[in-house]
C-alpha cells in the first residue's frame, strides 16, 4: 500500500512536468485523451482484475456520460456539473439493469450482456436522431468551469483531467486495500470460498460494476466537455475492446497496469504516425488501417510472453536480470 502511495507521488511529478516539456497544444491534447482513457481503464481494471468480471461494453458507459453531458447542456441548457452528475446517475441505473441479471449468474455472462448492450447503445446513438442528432453529432458543448474559473486552454484541462485520474486512482487503491477490496479479490480467487466466508458475492460484483461504470461515465462527460463535440463514432464496441486491451497489456491484476497500459496505448498512435514518415522515406506507404494489426500483435505478444501484463512482466524481468547483480543473491528470494 505504501508502494502505491509512492507510485501516486511519482505519477503526480511526471504529470505536472509534462506541460513544461511539451508546448505543442496538439500533444497536450493527446495527453488529455490519455488521461480520459486512464480514468475509464482504472474502473475497468477494478472490475476485471479484482472482481474477475469482463465488460465488453464500457465504451457504452463512456457514451452515456458523454451524451448526457452533451444533450443536457446543449438542448436543455443545464449547468455542466449537474449534467455530469446526471450522466453518472444514468450510467448507474443502466449498469444496474444489466448487472443484476448478468452478475447473479456464475461465469462470463457479463461479458456477453455488456457486449450486446454496447452495440445496442451505439445503434441508438446513430439512429435516435431526434435525441442524439445521429451521425452528425452534437456540437457546441460548453467548456467546464471550476469554481467559476473556465478551463479554457488545453493545459488547464490537462491538469484538471489528471487531477481527476489521480484522485480516481487514489480512491481505487484505498478500496483494494480495504475490507471491501479483500472481499472482491477473494471472490476472484475462489467464489465458493468467498461465499462460505459470508461474502454476498453477487452483491459485490454488482457494486464494483456500478463503480466502474461511474468511472467510465465521468470519462465520457469530460471527453464531451473537452472536445465540445461528440458523435457516436468513439463509443462503439471497438473502443470497449481497445480499453480492454489497454488493461490487459498493462496487467489486469494491478491498478497500475491499467494506468501504464492506457498511457502506452493512447500514445501509440502518435508514435505510429511518426512511423509513417519513416516508412515514406523508404517509399512504403504506411496506412493508418495497419494500426489495428499492430494493436493485435501487441496484445498477442503480451498474452504469450507476459500474461500478467507489462507491469508484472517487466518487474519479473528486472528481478531475474539486472536485479540479480544489484541485490545480493540470498536476498533475491
Amino acid at each position: 500500500m505504501k508502494k502505491d502511495y509512492i507510485g501516486i507521488l511519482v505519477l503526480i511529478c511526471c504529470v505536472s512536468l509534462v506541460p513544461f516539456f511539451i508546448q505543442n497544444n496538439y500533444y497536450i491534447g493527446v495527453f488529455v485523451f490519455t488521461g480520459i482513457n486512464c480514468l475509464a481503464c482504472i474502473g475497468l481494471s477494478l472490475l476485471m482484475g479484482y472482481a474477475g468480471q469482463i465488460s465488453l461494453g464500457h465504451a457504452a458507459f463512456i457514451g452515456i456520460g458523454a451524451y448526457s453531458s452533451a444533450i443536457l447542456t446543449v438542448t436543455y441548457h443545464w449547468f455542466p456539473w449537474f449534467a455530469i452528475l446526471a450522466g453518472v446517475v444514468f450510467s448507474v441505473i443502466t449498469a444496474l439493469c444489466i448487472g443484476i441479471p448478468a452478475l447473479r449468474l456464475k461465469g462470463h455472462y457479463l461479458a456477453m450482456a455488456t457486449m450486446g448492450f454496447g452495440s445496442i447503445m451505439h445503434i441508438v446513438a446513430v439512429a435516435a436522431i431526434d435525441i442524439t442528432a445521429g451521425p452528425s453529432g452534437i456540437s457546441g458543448i460548453p467548456k467546464l468551469s471550476l469554481f467559476g474559473f473556465e478551463l479554457n486552454t488545453d493545459v488547464q484541462f490537462f491538469y484538471f483531467i489528471w487531477f481527476v485520474v489521480i484522485l480516481g486512482l487514489y480512491l481505487a487503491i484505498n478500496i483494494i486495500h480495504s475490507r471491501e477490496g479483500r472481499a472482491l479479490r477473494s471472490l476472484h480467487g475462489s467464489e465458493d470460498a468467498a461465499r462460505a466466508m459470508g461474502i454476498h458475492t453477487s452483491m459485490y460484483k454488482i457494486k464494483i460494476f456500478l463503480f466502474s461504470a461511474v468511472y467510465a461515465s465521468l470519462a465520457g462527460s469530460f471527453y464531451a466537455h473537452y472536445v465540445n463535440y461528440i458523435d457516436p463514432d468513439p463509443f462503439g464496441v471497438m473502443h470497449s475492446v481497445l480499453l480492454l486491451t489497454m488493461v490487459a497489456v498493462g496487467g489486469i491484476h494491478q491498478l497500475w497496469g491499467a494506468v501504464i497500459g492506457a498511457i502506452l496505448l493512447s500514445l501509440l498512435p502518435e508514435f505510429l504516425s511518426s512511423l509513417t514518415e519513416f516508412f515514406d522515406s523508404f517509399n512504403i506507404t504506411y496506412q493508418t488501417d495497419y494500426d489495428t494489426i499492430i494493436y493485435g500483435s501487441i496484445l498477442l505478444l503480451i498474452m504469450l510472453f507476459m500474461p500478467e501484463g507489462l507491469v508484472k512482466g517487466i518487474s519479473t524481468f528486472y528481478k531475474y536480470t539486472i536485479g540479480r547483480y544489484l541485490i545480493p543473491k540470498h536476498e533475491t528470494k
Binding site: 480512491l171 475490507r179 470460498a193 463503480f211 491484476h253
Partner: protein, 253 residues
C-alpha cells in the same frame, strides 16, 4: 446457547434418479466433534453442502441453533455462524496468507463501499483490529511465520491449515471440515488432530468428514456412518468399529 447445534430432519437430496442423501435425521450436540464417515459416494460431502447452503435439499429441513436455515443463502448461513472448509482446497492464491485470514473476519466487521474509498479514521481502527484478530487466528494454527507469503505458494498441507484458520477467524459456532487430512503426511495429520481438539476446546462444534480412520477414531466424540445417503451406524468410535453393518459396508460381503 442451545444444546443442539445442528439438526437434520428428514433430509433428502435427489440428483436425477438417485438419492445422494436419503432421509437423514441427525442431531449434533454443540461442543462436540462428530465425524461422518462412509464409503466413497456415500453422500458425506453432500451433507456438508446441504448444511452450508451450497445445495438445497429436495425435502426435509436443517436447523441451526433451532433456527431453520434450509432455504437460506450460503453467505447468510456463514454469517449466522457456520464455517466450512472444502475437499478441494479453496484458498485465495493471489492474496497473502494473512489477507486470506483477514477475509475470514468479513462477517465480524462492517464497512461501506463508498466510505472505503476515503478511509475515515474509524475504518483505519477497524482495519487494525481485523489485522490483529487475523494474526491471532493465524498463530492459533501456527502459520504466523508465513503471514506475508502469497497463499498460493504454500505447500498443500499448510494450505489446508490456512483454510481452517480462515474459517476459524469467522468465530463460528459450527465448523464443517471436509477431509482436512487428505494430502497431509503422518506428522501433519497428528498436528491436525491436536488442532481439531483445540478447536473443540474453544467451544466450537466440529463436524468432520474424513477418510483417515486413525484420526477419526482418535478425536471423535461420535461417529456417524452413512452409506447410500442413509445412516447405517451411529455411536462412539468404539461402538461403530464393532458394528457388523459398518464392516460390511467397508469390506463388502
Amino acid at each position: 446457547m442451545t444444546d443442539t447445534a445442528i439438526e437434520l430432519i428428514g433430509l433428502k437430496k435427489r440428483f436425477g434418479g438417485i438419492f445422494a442423501v436419503n432421509d437423514l435425521n441427525i442431531k449434533i450436540r454443540s461442543g462436540t466433534i462428530t465425524s461422518i464417515i462412509g464409503p466413497n459416494g456415500a453422500g458425506k460431502t453432500t451433507v456438508f453442502n446441504l448444511i452450508s447452503g451450497f445445495i438445497k435439499p429436495t425435502t426435509g429441513s436443517i436447523l441451526f441453533s433451532e433456527q431453520n436455515i434450509t432455504q437460506k443463502e450460503v453467505h447468510d448461513i456463514a454469517r449466522m455462524g457456520v464455517a466450512r472448509t472444502f475437499q478441494q482446497v479453496q484458498i485465495f492464491p493471489e492474496m497473502s496468507v494473512l489477507e486470506n485470514v483477514m477475509v475470514g473476519r468479513h462477517v465480524r466487521s462492517k464497512s461501506g463501499f463508498l466510505l472505503s474509498c476515503i478511509v475515515p479514521p474509524q475504518f483505519r481502527k477497524q482495519e487494525a483490529f481485523i489485522k490483529t484478530s487475523a494474526e491471532k487466528w493465524l498463530s492459533f494454527v501456527g502459520l504466523n511465520s508465513m503471514a506475508d507469503h502469497p497463499a498460493g505458494t504454500l505447500p498443500l498441507g499448510n494450505q489446508r491449515i490456512l483454510e481452517i484458520s480462515r474459517a476459524l477467524a469467522m468465530e463460528p459456532q459450527v465448523i464443517l471440515l471436509d477431509e482436512p487430512a487428505s494430502g497431509l503426511n503422518a506428522r501433519e495429520t497428528l498436528a491436525l488432530g491436536e488442532l481439531i481438539e483445540r478447536i473443540k476446546m474453544s467451544n466450537i462444534t466440529v463436524m468432520l468428514v474424513e477418510h483417515d480412520m486413525e484420526l477419526v477414531m482418535e478425536i471423535s466424540d461420535r461417529v456417524i456412518v452413512i452409506n447410500f445417503g442413509q445412516v447405517i451406524a451411529d455411536g462412539s468410535p468404539a461402538e461403530v468399529q464393532m458394528n457388523p453393518e459398518v464392516i460390511k459396508a467397508y469390506l463388502g460381503e
